[in-house]
Structure formats: structure tokens, C-alpha cells
Amino acid sequence: MLQELWNILSLSDANTRVVLLGTGLLGLASGVVGALAVLRRHALVSDAVAHASLPGICLAFLIVGDRNFGALLVGALVFGLLAAGSISLVRQFTRVKEDAAIALAISVYFGLGVVLTRVIQQQPRGNAAGLDSFIFGKAASMVEADLWRIGGVAIVAFLAVGLFLKELRLACFDRQFARVEGFRPTLVDGVLMSLVCGCTIVGLPAVGIILIVALLIIPGATARLLTNRLVPLLIVAGTIGAASGVIGTIISSLAPTPAAALTRGWPTGPSIVLVAAACFILALLFAPGRGVLARAASRFRLSHQISVQNILRAAFERSEADGGDSGAWSPAQLSIHRSMTPWSMWWHLASARRRGLVSHSPSGYRLTPAGIEEAKRLVRAHRLWELYLIHEAAVAPDHVDRDADEIEHVLPPEVLARLEARLLATATSLPHSPHPLTPRGDSHAAPRAPSGGTP
């Protein structure tokens, strides 16, 4: 297997060279063009355009009588734009909504195309057309001419995107503003759809009509998860497209088939699509900041931080209510004031110990001096916020603890300073709590007796 891999990577075989370069370049061009289609919310329309190229290609073949690439391209373009146009018209002038209009276009045009392929196959020279390979793709039989065509479309695509970047950005973001500024969004749409048609037709040998939309859409969708800027997004989409093309081709030529018959390996088109899909799933899960795992981790971190802070506050307020340091406490004693399961309490206390805020001895837990400082800061913030809610925001005193709880953990120092200026005479004293510390669920109770016994 390793030997085969080396054979492929060294590009020694001419055919391998063609296929690798072709799929890579195709992925690059489709990734960039498709990313713009995704941003323009024309992903599904691109699918319709791809499917609609089939009748165009068939008609061109019937008219010209030969597999003339130029004619096929024109046929694909004409029908692709027809499809996009008919979707627009149906949406604008009938009660049919966009999703139904697109589904209509896909099925009608593709159905027409399948009928035409049968017509062609019944003709004497029909078999030579190999039109079935248009539907499913057959990358292994790509020839150098295909590579040049892909290259040509790629160059046109990059030129167009490079020249019209600001128009594309404007038309995709705010059509009405584009019109007021004197640009015609319909024209920009037409350019984009033509590029989609171009990528579709040169992508047919590699991945076929049905899957070309994957190569257009998936890199763009993946890149959107990874970046917030247009140009980096296009670069990332192109890179993912190219990588999918190359890696997919390599995998498909190395992977064994169960049948091990005349065809070697897996079909190339689907392999490329699967690699692209894998990229998308990886981005979905692991994108920094925006991925599923990153967001879950940050939610967990925040809730952990809040729990530790609540423990510190409860410990401090307990001492305060007892008129001074009341000695070590056990988790059970604290959990009267903070509803936490023993297990999570233990977990948070372990973290607080690691951070030097809490110390543990045989008689129980205590706040360290650092812990006391931190607790004072938290209690002050909490009470200032409570006072603010009561006096300025007209929240009833017995509702205030919960509200303050949610906000005060994220108060920055400037806000605290402003609160103090509003509410306190001196800046350093700890305000009294508007409501004394009581066991949970009983906020109307009188202040606890200073004996330290549990109520």
C-alpha cells in the first residue's frame, strides 16, 4: 500500500498526474465559486443549475453531433441560466415559494435531460457519447484536455472573483443598497451563476452532475464555520476544495473494492465528496470558538467558574453572619445555602484548592487569605448589584438575589466603580446585604441567630 501511495504522490504516472491535478484544480475553483453561491444563498439554485446542465449538454450533442467541448459548454450555460431564471420567475410571479420552485426546476430539467440521454443512446453514434459518465463521473478516464479545460475555467473564475470582489460582496450582502449605488445585482448574480455553470461542466468528468454541487457547497459551508472575513473565507474554501479533490482521489485509487473486478478502487467522485464532508464535520466539532465542542467547553467553564464563586461567597457570608471567622466548614454545611450535589461541590472545591483559594484540614475546609480577598470582591460586587437593582431598577428585594447572581459574575471593574459612586459613601467598605443570609428557599426569614447552629 505504501508503495502504491508513493507511486501516486511522486506523480510519475501521467494519468495519475492528470487526475490529481484535475481534481485539485477543480476543487480549488469550485470551492471559491461555490462559497460565493453559499453566501448569496444560492446553494440550492446552484444544484438546480448543475442538474439543468444535463439537457443542455444533450441538446448540444444532438445539434453538433460530436463531443465538442465548446458546444457542450454553451448548452450547459444556456440551460443553467434558464433554470436559474425560471426559478426566479416562478418565485416572483406565482404563489409558489422558493423551495418548491427549486425542487420543480431540478426535477423538470433533470427529467428532460434523462429523456434526452435515452434518445441519444438510441442513435447510432450514441454510445460513443458516454453520457452516463456525465451523471456519475469517471475521474480515472480524465484526459489532458479535461485538465486544460478545468484550468481555463479556474483562471476565468479567479479573474472574475478578483475583479468583481467588491461587487460580489455588495450584491451578496445588501441587494437594495447595491441597486441604489447603481450596480445591478441581477448582473452580478448572472456572473456568479455562469461561473457555477462553468465549474459544473468541467467537473462532470470528475464527479458527475449529481455530486458536483457537493464540491461547490461543502468547502464554502466549512469555511464559514472557520472565519468571519470574506477573503480568508474564499481562500479557506478553495484550499478545502483542492485538498478534498486530491485526498479523495488518492483514497479512491488506494482503497480496495470487495469485487476487485475490472474497476480499481472506489469511485473517485464520491470519495472526494466524502473527504469534503469529513472536513465539514471536523470543522463543525472543532472550530475554535464556534464549533460544537468549543462552545460546550466555554459553557462548562463559565458554569464551573460561577459555582466556585458561589462557594466562596457562601463561605464568606457564613463567617460574616457568625460575626467573624467561624472555623472550618464541611461541604454539607455550605450546601444548605447553595443547592449543589455533593459530587459537584467536591469537584468545585478541588478546583478552588488547586487555585489556592481554599484549604483543607481534618476539621473541614477554610478560605485561605487569597480566598478571603476574592470572596470579599465577589460579595461586594454582588451586593452593589443587588442595591442597584433594588434602588435603580425597581426590582423587589426578594427577587434580587437570583438576578444579581446571574449578572455579577461578569461585571468588569469600571462598572463596579460606577456602582460604588452611585450607592456608597465610602468606596472600600463592604455594604450590608439588603437581605440577610438565609437557607435557600426561605428568603423572608429573619436573620440567623449568631450561634452558628443550623436552623
Binding site: 468583481f164 467588491k166 461587487e167 450582502f173 443598497f177 441597486r179 441604489v180 468571519n228 472575513r229 470574506l230
Partner: protein, 267 residues
């Protein structure tokens, strides 16, 4: 012509927008009917009316975003095609996909695209102008922020900055104060007053009757037809307000329904 009102424009005063017998109909249901009004320049003009009165439609018809079924509109005496360079536009916030990968600065820079035309790239001068406009609305610190991370008021101010970057003579705004916080409202009002000082014209669809006389000096009152138009002092009267909002024009609704169902031949 029925429906025109007192238009006591001083003789030498320039007219910013001239609307002649404008009618707009969606699927044969009239939304604007025979509107005929002159809007003066160098003023802050509010377009008010109940929901569905055609206020946004009038704005869009003037800007060519919505086709006229009949009538004619001129901006500074010329058709839209020739006066595009003089126009700035602040659309409604809902009209845009705020999830698009673009920063606040890049949105404001879009205001300079019109003067560049096709293909040309924004210059250093354009970048500086965009920065200045962001500062004018108080968002200089948010220049690199992704727009989806901005609050509603900040998004509205970005739109305003973009319109300022267009450096126009006449600004159209579609509900610029809708859904913004008090601080943003003050900021926007400050910008509008500064524009008036500079001799610019502002025409805004406004939804809040309480603040209309305070913020604007000229008013256009619409309820499918023009009810009244003129300086705030003379046109913004209880009688006109009743006529605009008071349902006295329901006959128009019935007539509109009849037309939609195909009873009447349209001119």
C-alpha cells in the same frame, strides 16, 4: 388634482424630490395611489402614516427599488438615473443578512463603491473617509467587529455611517429609529442635525408620532394617498392626523379591494 395640499415653499427654495401622480400596485392592489408631493431641500422631512400606508413604498419608489405603475418622480429636477450620485440610503435593518462575513468597517466602505464604479478598488482616501464616518456615529472602536456581534442600535449606526460615506446631497432613511436604544437615538439625531447644518436634505420614514415634531421640520402624511404635506407647524395638525390615522379613509380600502378583484379598469 385631489389630494395635494398646501405647499408653501418659498419661490426660490430648491425642491429635492418631486413626485407626480405616483401610483404603485402589487399584484393589482394599489399600495400608493396618485401621490403628488414636493419635498423641499435642506430640511429634515418625515414621512408618517399608519402601517401599510405605503411609507416605505414611497421611499423605494423614489429610489427606483419598486416600479411605478404610473406617475413620474424627479430628484433635484432630474430622473433617478442622473441623480444617483447625489443620493444616500439607509435601508431597514431587516432587509439584510447580518450573519454575512463582513466587519463594520467593510460595511461602511461599501458606501464608497458607488463613486468607484465597476471593478475599481477602494483607495486609501476611501478608507480614510470610511473611518471618519464610523467616528461620526461613535463606532470607531468597533471597526473590526463582525456585524453579527453588534447590537441593534449599533447596526443601525453602521448603516448610517455607510450612508454618510456616500457623501450625498440627499439622504433617504427607512425607519432609522426603529428598535434602537435611547443613546443611539440621540446619536442619530445628532448626525441628522449636523447634516442639516451642512445644507443636506434628509427624508426619513418615521414611526413614532411623539417625536416627529421634535426631530423633523417638514412632514409628509400618507395613507395610501397623500393626506397632507408641509412644514411641521402648519401641516402637523390634529385634523390632518385624524385624517391620516383615523380610519376616515376606509373607503379607499374597499375601493382598493374592488380594484384588486378586477372590477375596475385601470388607467
Amino acid at each position: 388634482m385631489i389630494g395635494t395640499t398646501d405647499q408653501p415653499l418659498a419661490h426660490a427654495e430648491e425642491v429635492a424630490v418631486e413626485v407626480h401622480d405616483a401610483t404603485v400596485a402589487y399584484h393589482r392592489k394599489p399600495v400608493l395611489w396618485d401621490v403628488d408631493v414636493l419635498i423641499p431641500s435642506k430640511r429634515l422631512t418625515a414621512i408618517i402614516g399608519p402601517n401599510g400606508a405605503g411609507k416605505s413604498t414611497l421611499l423605494k419608489a423614489i429610489l427606483g427599488l419598486v416600479p411605478l405603475s404610473s406617475g413620474r418622480i424627479e430628484i433635484f429636477g432630474k430622473p433617478l438615473r442622473q441623480s444617483r450620485r447625489l443620493i444616500g440610503y439607509v435601508p431597514q435593518r431587516e432587509s439584510v443578512d447580518w450573519d454575512f462575513p463582513v466587519s463594520a468597517f467593510e460595511v461602511v466602505l461599501m458606501g464608497r463603491y458607488g463613486r468607484l464604479g465597476w471593478i475599481k478598488r477602494p483607495t486609501r482616501e476611501d478608507h480614510k473617509a470610511a473611518e471618519e464616518c464610523l467616528e461620526k456615529v461613535g463606532l470607531a472602536a468597533f471597526a473590526d467587529r463582525q456585524i453579527s456581534e453588534l447590537s441593534g442600535g449599533q447596526q443601525q449606526r453602521v448603516f448610517l455611517a455607510r450612508a454618510l460615506a456616500q457623501d450625498a446631497k440627499l439622504y433617504f432613511m427607512d425607519e432609522p429609529f426603529a428598535g434602537v436604544d435611547a443613546a443611539t437615538e440621540l446619536a442619530i439625531m445628532g448626525v441628522l442635525r449636523a447634516l442639516r447644518e451642512e445644507g443636506k436634505t434628509v427624508i426619513a420614514v418615521h414611526h413614532d408620532l411623539q417625536t416627529v415634531p421634535q426631530y423633523f421640520d417638514h412632514v409628509v402624511m400618507l395613507n395610501m394617498r397623500l393626506v397632507a404635506a408641509g412644514p411641521m407647524a402648519t401641516a402637523f395638525t390634529k385634523e390632518n392626523l385624524d385624517k391620516t390615522y383615523g380610519g376616515r379613509l376606509t373607503l379607499l380600502d374597499e375601493a382598493a379591494e374592488a380594484v384588486r378583484r378586477g372590477g375596475v379598469a385601470r388607467t
